[in-house]
Symmetry: C2
DNA sequence: CGCCTCCAATCGAACATTCATTCTAATGTA
DNA sequence: TACATTAGAATGAATGTTCGATTGGAGGCG
């Protein structure tokens, strides 16, 4: 998941992610990160400026990773509907496959702990903006109602997030059949 | 918002809520809560067992409050559609009117800091379960597709949450027109 | 009323612990 | 030799919580 980083950084980022999901940011101390990752605090501080820097780097790394996964295969010559549904499916698959990254972004995308500049960069480099463009195309092609694409993306993203969350908490079952139903609902909700 | 509590408890809960939204749980220390609420740490510990207890009580209080607000006026003799749309509208209005409570539940409903028993009680005493029953009725009346009501509630809740979040972050405008569009989309997404 | 008693409520200094971070010494490596 | 990397003890600030002293006011009694 953190391919652009060296071994030490990878170990630290992965360990931190696991600890934060398991025990909260509050209970995730540097000494715990050090112990669990097998890297001494001295080394950690050699590669990261501070604890805040680790968390923000974690955020940046996950967003980049997710962006690539979601946008994979949506710039083909296929019909818009195929490509849009692929993006949604990518998002669902990704969230189920990397639940920790998904949960982390969920919990901290609105947290003051993440610098605004990092959030900004995440938005610009993530999948949100490209997807909005696809939605705008769909509106132009009279596939969708004349709604703000940003609005529609947030609506559909929210639907997916909550269904996936419920599935991760074992509150809902999310098998192929349900995934199809979810994607159909998204399409139907704004289709003309 | 915390009517069932005494003055001291109210001051502590309200101050804590404000601090957590503003600065994160991490940065919200007991001494800060004491200073900002004007209650000494001694008194706080006279009314609350621990910091964890405060946060969990906060959670419980907000969920109860929200439950009443959302379910207000949905047990009338009116058609199902009217009542369902009212519930959604209630939720949107509530979230915009009490953004701190909304954000708090959003951020911490999946956090390990909240005891499972409290989450459980929140679910049973909140608006989720009653709403699922309305959805089941709508399925029976052939208004909605034959989908798991739990599934649909989560889908629609997610849509609303993300649109409201975006509005609170000034990423989207959410005026009457948009609220109508959002509710229509929810309806359309699962209607037969 | 005036005085006293009593206990809940309030306070904030004190406490042990834990935290993020620094520092110096040791180690690997080229 | 020289320099980047690693280690983990040391540091001081900050944390959640406790505790003994103080206050306030309700109620009993002369």
């Amino acid at each position: 998941m953190f391919d652009n980083y060296n071994k030490v950084q990878q170990a630290v980022l992965e360990t931190t992610l696991g600890l934060i999901i398991e025990k909260e940011l509050q209970a995730t101390s540097m000494s715990l990160i050090a112990r669990k990752s097998g890297i001494s605090t001295g080394s950690i501080y050699h590669y990261f400026e501070s604890k805040e820097a680790i968390i923000n780097e974690l955020y940046r790394g996950i967003v980049t990773f997710n962006g690539h996964k979601v946008l994979d295969g949506i710039y083909t010559g296929e019909p818009l509907r195929t490509r849009l549904e692929r993006a949604w499916r990518n998002l669902i698959t990704l969230s189920l496959e990397y639940p920790q990254g998904f949960q982390f972004i969920e919990q901290y995308s609105f947290s003051p702990y993440i610098y605004d500049e990092v959030k900004q960069a995440a938005y610009e480099g993530g999948w949100c903006h490209p997807l909005e463009k696809l939605y705008a195309e769909a509106v132009e092609q009279k596939l969708f109602t004349a709604m703000d694409p940003k609005f529609m993306v947030q609506m559909h993203y929210g639907s997916i997030v909550y269904v996936v969350k419920s599935a991760l908490n074992h509150y809902l079952d999310l098998k192929d059949e349900e995934i199809e139903g979810l994607i159909d609902s998204c399409w139907q909700s704004v289709s003309l």
